[in-house]
Symmetry: C2
């Protein structure tokens, strides 16, 4: 007897992240430089306790927090989110009222992950093409695979996506008649997971113009999906404006963000800014998924944003991660062989370290196995590359997270990994 599984069911693979998480849980002594978790000690326990206490102190305000809310999200949270994004993009100074992001264009979701899923459902049929960064967020590759999508990698440079390569790719897709299957370009634009690169505003604007130029051959809109999950985790430098500020953004940019990482991962609240008809459709799909995100966690964010405690927490968090990233970098400088390199970072949770080409880092490599034997592990770089046949998947990179490990464990983990790498070089 066959299984009753759907095609999506048959395509949905066990995500590599599950395997890594199981590994971490089964070996408690293991130092994980793999997890994208935030730092336990950084979590706003006291703040959240105070916030919930205030929300639920009086029945009048407490009852709505425990009731269903609108599917698109709490109106006040949508408004505060619109305001915050407007400020981040430094639009407040603008005299042009219409440049402000409208609360009505915001949707609140159960983490931004849920919105990435919903947007994929809303736009993509099996066989459709999504352009992704090379490397990209590996959980998104899992979503794409389960939907039968064909991901094509766009090369990256120090300041983000390689526009020449994007143009070449679009040209080739036009020539092969595949452009009508292209639905969007997926950019993790701030301190990107995994490579921690940030795409400059100029490049986002040019990428959007390129998509616009080619969409007439596609016969339908080609969107720019900007995943800004790490935007608020900035240590230094100025904020980069989002693609929402680019010319032509109103109708073509799908922006996703989250409060989970900057505030608390156990409070799963993400959001998006979407143009029509995608906004209406995403809201309908969200209704089918779950009617709307748990109201209580939305109210926690409303209260945190309004009272300024969100900002206070975020400043602490940024300092904390800046310090931890410095600890990791110093340890890498001390313990890693000279042939291992990594770009400097200005935010986020990760370093992206490259070993000499002959030193493989994949899960079957000696490096990975020896690291495991030394009770330390990382995310193999190869997980983060789409199955794009036009190039070989690089297999000599590691995503090293300083998110969840303590400073002591970061030092110790890098030291152990350094020994393994010295032995391999």
């Amino acid at each position: 007897m066959k299984s009753a599984l759907s095609k999506l069911g048959q395509r949905t693979q066990s995500p590599p992240i599950s395997w890594l998480m199981d590994l971490a849980l089964s070996r408690p002594h293991l130092i994980s430089l793999a997890a994208g978790f935030t730092d336990n000690a950084s979590l706003p326990v006291d703040f959240t306790r105070e916030l919930v206490d205030e929300i639920l102190r009086h029945a009048k305000h407490g009852q709505p927090a425990l009731q269903y809310g609108p599917t698109a999200g709490d109106p006040m949270l949508r408004e505060l989110t619109a305001k915050r994004l407007t400020e981040l993009d430094a639009r407040e100074s603008s005299r042009n009222q219409s440049e402000r992001i409208a609360a009505e264009s915001i949707i609140i979701t159960h983490g931004s992950q849920q919105l990435l899923y919903i947007l994929t459902e809303a736009l993509c049929d099996p066989g459709d093409i999504v352009l992704v960064e090379d490397p990209t967020y590996f959980v998104y590759l899992g979503i794409a695979q389960s939907h039968g999508l064909d991901c094509r990698g766009v090369r990256m440079e120090a300041d983000g996506i390689d526009l020449d390569h994007l143009e070449q790719l679009l040209k080739r897709l036009k020539q092969s008649g595949e452009l009508k299957r292209v639905k969007f370009l997926y950019l993790v634009s701030y301190y990107q997971n995994p490579a921690c690169l940030t795409t400059s505003f100029e490049k986002k604007e040019k990428a959007l113009a390129l998509l616009r130029q080619y969409e007439k051959f596609a016969g339908h809109p080609i969107y720019l999906l900007e995943d800004a999950a790490y935007r608020e985790l900035r240590f230094t430098g100025a904020d980069t404006r989002s693609a929402l500020c680019a010319r032509g953004a109103e109708a073509r940019v799908l922006y996703t963000g989250t409060y989970s990482k900057p505030f608390a991962t156990g409070v799963r609240v993400g959001f998006g800014v979407l143009p029509e008809p995608v906004l209406t459709l995403a809201t309908r799909i969200k209704g089918n998924h779950d009617f709307g995100t748990a109201n209580l966690v939305q109210q926690i964010l409303v209260k945190a944003l309004r009272t300024g405690r969100y900002e206070t927490h975020l400043s602490n968090l940024r300092r904390r991660y800046a310090r931890k990233s410095a600890v990791m970098e110093k340890a890498m400088e001390k313990y890693f062989p000279a042939g291992v390199t990594w770009p400097a970072i200005e935010g986020g949770l990760y370093f992206w370290a490259k070993t000499p080409t002959r030193v493989k880092t994949g899960i079957k490599s000696r490096t990975f196995q020896e690291a495991l034997n030394a009770d330390v592990f990382y995310v193999p770089g190869a997980f983060c590359y789409a199955n794009d046949k036009s190039r070989r998947k690089p297999d000599n990179e590691m995503r090293l997270s300083f998110g969840s490990a303590s400073e002591k464990n970061i030092r110790e983990g890098i030291k152990r990994l350094g020994s393994v790498l010295h032995g391999r070089s």
Copy 2:
């Protein structure tokens, strides 16, 4: 230029519930007997405040509550849920350890709605057939439509699904060669939304046996999906055992339940008991959706269940709804014309009232319009029937909810509706 929407995107309609909710929001004086909301005054505001205070009082326990957790759900909540279901099915007395529900077979989701969605994704391709009750939960019909499914209605009797009709239907599907497209029978088995019928254990067991008998012609498993969302909202009578106790259930029953309605709808926590391979697949899809349900709300449920406050709240809630249902029934007896009938209920949130055939109740009917003019509204029965061409959709029923309206508004709403109905008869 065409839209870039996927086929699912194009199929996903605005759910009728949105229209009804917008209507309610835009006319605050309207008495809604439509909403499936629970009662604001019943929400456990003080309980939840105490629970969160306890959870977040110490960093040691508070931090994990604000961190990511396993995708399948918090291990303690899975264990408590398994224990609770075992008790509800009165299995505790059983000497047979193996009869207990295993924590490992439980998945925690963002409301049980999310699990209904995930199961549909996991099992159904466009064109597949799902057998549903006639009438059934209308939001499920929206999910099915968005996935391009073909829903076939099974007639209902006072003690639940009509087994003869189910058998006829299976036979016809076998003859027409369509059985291989049938994936599951969807039963809202307790105080069903909308008609408030409960399917007896015997009928569930027989339905399962029938599915089993026909699945050899399908060539794949045909599951019984038991949606027990209203199970805990019982006023009188004994609990009916779930389909999980039926012979052959281990491999073929997909059970979904929720803590949202019995506890608080703003705390969206649902769960399922699933056999393999569905459990593994649902967990993977859940990982793609959102990695796991917000940990904080799961911890609230853990604490509520462990301290007995869940039970205390539930007893109050049952008494409260029993009283409100009595208020509604008394009002209907007093104000409705003799030709309007409804079955007695033993739990849930709804009455299902039938008008004489010539008195239509649909949104374009005079009854609905006149009710709106009198500032009262209900869910038209026709929303709750699948697009099954083998019968005409009944259009002379109303789902009347006593969930969210106050006792005063229930009386007043029924009085107004009674005037409208008297005018129409």
